[in-house]
Symmetry: C2
Subunit: 492 residues, 2 copies
């Protein structure tokens, strides 16, 4: 596949789509709205998974697995949740195919194999999980339950985009049960902070933590916390959510526990998740017109070494020089690819690894051999420098750490420069139109105003940030009194 050269400036959306395919991250499949995650893209997702999974376990969670299907009667038990997802449910109605008598070699659905009750392919697992927890919880001794699941879910989408919005996606969903409201709220808070720290230190993406407004809440939640990132085109992306579910699911599934005092009480719940959407956030936060830019902490290949040589003798000389260095780098946990393919020229290789976002490229040719040097190129800044081989392993390790920081700082500066305080409706529209990013503005707190602003501008309230300063003001839209600013943005 040739990389169709479209810059972010020219067409951000096309740039994104091309990049995802050309960097071998993912592609569309022949199933409407479902993607194929290619090996290189999946390797990045695996790194995200490993980092998240470690954090979940460190905070006391265990993994488990619940069924893909939810019987319709369970699905509809928590009404708000069911209503929220009903319009995007894939439904299994039959369990057998048969030979099509009208068409040789073809199959058709066997009409005699209709299910008595339809099965919903999980769009989220609260229903099936709370129906299970009912059997796990009798007394306070059984609480808390701190479980996470890595799974695929399906939400039928009409307009899909690779990673950002697909009918099937991969995610993790934590589902916890607690004896007290206070404990459940603390868990909800803890997990959104885990996401924020992960986004910051691993994805190198600064995010803003806050509460969703009522209209943007998860269906069935009493409160939804989120992390919001800002993409290079000035649009926001919801990167993770953590829901305080109150006793809604416990009531819908009649899950009670005996307290120490012997009273029966409904259990308190949370759920929290991030998905392969993070891959989209990653691409859109750091990449450039040449392709993917990966923070070193997520790169499946952190260092690529491209030898420049003529003939096997020269290759052997380069290999002899680099072999111990590669070994030393790997011993430090740095993943290194020594690209000795003889089917491609160095220029081709440079472009390929640039497109795929490998953080550090080392080129070594004959003159380098003579001088005891290599050429080191940073993917993020495209800076090239000649390094002496002495102590090269330390230099590379330090460079990777520096790049991780620099990529984060660049994204942070961009984000901070794109939080604009506005005080009038004219300003609001003007900033939204010409600058983009987050707009910090007063809002009168009603769903009605929020909806009108959305209708007028497509901007939504991304969140009410944690520790939001309280100040008197007037709503930019309605002119009514307001106690705090909230963050608006156009969003993915």
């Amino acid at each position: 596949m040739a990389f169709e050269k479209v810059t972010r400036e020219q067409d951000y959306s096309k740039w994104y789509n091309n990049l995802v395919e050309d960097a071998d991250l993912a592609q569309h499949s022949s199933v409407r709205g479902c993607m194929v995650i290619k090996p290189y893209g999946y390797a990045i997702w695996e790194k995200m998974q490993a980092e998240l999974d470690r954090r979940f376990k460190e905070t006391g969670h265990e993994n488990a697995y619940f069924p893909l299907f939810v019987p319709k009667s369970l699905f509809e038990a928590e009404e708000k949740n069911a209503e929220g997802f009903a319009k995007e449910c894939a439904v299994v109605t039959h369990y057998r195919l048969e030979t099509d008598p009208d068409s040789e070699g073809k199959l058709r659905v066997d009409p005699n194999a209709k299910l008595e009750e339809e099965l919903i392919v999980r769009p989220t697992s609260e229903a099936i999980i709370w129906n299970t927890y009912k059997g796990w919880i009798q007394s306070y001794r059984d609480l808390p339950i701190l479980v996470n699941q890595w799974a695929n879910v399906v939400r039928w989408e009409m307009r899909t985009r690779l990673f950002l919005r697909t009918a099937e996606f991969l995610w993790q969903e934590g589902h916890t049960a607690h004896a007290t409201k206070q404990e459940a709220i603390a868990e909800t808070d803890q997990m959104v902070r885990v996401y924020e720290e992960f986004a910051r230190n691993i994805l190198a993406i600064p995010t803003i933590m806050g509460h969703k407004t009522e209209s943007e809440r998860f269906a069935g939640a009493d409160d939804t916390l989120c992390i919001e990132g800002l993409m290079q085109d000035g649009k926001a992306l919801q990167m993770g959510t953590s829901h305080f579910l109150g006793q809604n699911f416990a009531k819908a599934f009649d899950v009670k526990y005996a307290t120490k005092e012997g009273k029966l009480e409904h259990v308190w719940a949370t759920s929290w998740g991030v998905s392969t959407r993070l891959m989209g956030a990653l691409v859109m936060s750091h990449s450039d017109d040449e392709g993917l830019v990966l923070p070193p902490n997520l790169a499946p290949i952190q260092v690529v070494i491209v030898p420049i040589y003529k003939g096997l003798d020269q290759l052997e000389a380069v290999t002899d020089k680099m072999d111990p260095i590669i070994k030393n780098l790997r011993a430090r946990g740095i993943s290194v690819k020594f690209d000795i393919r003889d089917t491609h020229k160095p220029g081709f290789k440079f472009a390929e690894w640039e497109r795929k976002g490998v953080p550090v490229r080392i080129a070594i040719g004959q003159r380098d051999l003579e001088n005891g040097t290599v050429e080191v190129a940073r993917r993020d800044t495209k800076e090239k420098n000649t390094y002496e081989l002495t102590d090269i392993e330390n230099k590379i390790e330090n460079l990777l750490a520096l790049m991780q920081e620099d990529i984060y700082t660049k994204a942070l500066n961009f984000r901070d420069n794109h939080i604009t305080l506005v005080n009038t409706w004219e300003e609001f529209q003007e900033v939204l139109e010409n600058k983009g990013g987050f707009i910090s503005a007063h809002w009168n707190g009603t769903t009605e105003t929020e909806e009108k602003i959305k209708q007028a501008t497509k901007a939504t309230i991304r969140c009410i940030p944690f520790d939001n300063p309280q100040e008197d003001g007037v709503c930019v839209f309605s002119g009514k009194p307001s106690k705090e600013r909230v963050l608006f943005a156009k969003a993915y």
Copy 2:
């Protein structure tokens, strides 16, 4: 849940079901045929996954992810494969629910949201993957493709058993594409050997590698290799398969590559998989009437320490003594649980950890503190010994290694004692009825005879072992000439 005391002798099947639930491995869900894998069971599965994944990567494979759904027209493209799975397919026909006007608060399938083409929930992914590979393969430079997927699959089963046979199960499926027949056959062979080594060294289960007969082959394969284990009740269990798919899928999906010489050739394929069925094999190979027995290499908790004390002072003294030991054990990569729950008595804890198969239990009471000793109990043999604390970490580490070996050796001896050579039909029936296990017998090589033996005895040919000695004989059933013995058994 109380552990219902049923011995293997009394009712092997009930013993198995109870154990799986009472050791907190899995349970039935409210979805017909689908199970919930509980945290403790899932932790064991994660260990299996990590060990397998490492082996796949070491043999050059990468992970990727393909859609859950297969459009019917793709599914039916490879006819034998489609025919083989048609009768057990869950089918998605609709993509939306709507409010049921006849029933308040209920939902129904929206008749206006019928899919133009039905989607099959993947029972296996050859079809969707080969349809994707078509776009990945142009020339010999694109080969081989060595991809694995960790995923859930659905095969509708009427009679299900936890782990052994469930409608939804978790598995890995490798799908590789090669330029030559020879290379594909070598890959098929390599992967069954990876499974055998994994079963031996990690699961501590000896397996026999061999070829399936034509009638037991994977639908769409030219050859199926397998590993067959023997359970304690004398029944065999197919634990993994590796298929040489010839050019069947390449032809069905028209996948050709340009050779170095510029000719167009169909690509050669393999697929190979193991599933959560391995959890069933694990339980049935080693466990006893008291519960699960885990080989140390798979145990989420390898060592449990149960303090025996009265009052906080005594607990503190025990804790002071054990803390550095726990730290040292963990530094060696040994997972240790220090069970200081004050809600349960030591006897309860002993029974619980025994039921859950924790390999080594260390008990320490006041007299031990005075003597500088602990009591160490092995789960597999139930042997108890007093150990002096001097150098205890080494002793425990060595004990775990020894137990891994002993558990394997025990299973190996059992297996070897249950391979019986028989030469007559009477003997065949007698051994099958009274002794069970593998029966090594001559067979005339026809599907017809194989089928008749199955009808008469429920025994099937488990495999034709690798490096099977060639010897003249007569088929035990038909009396016709035979060139080699094959392995029969009743199987799960």
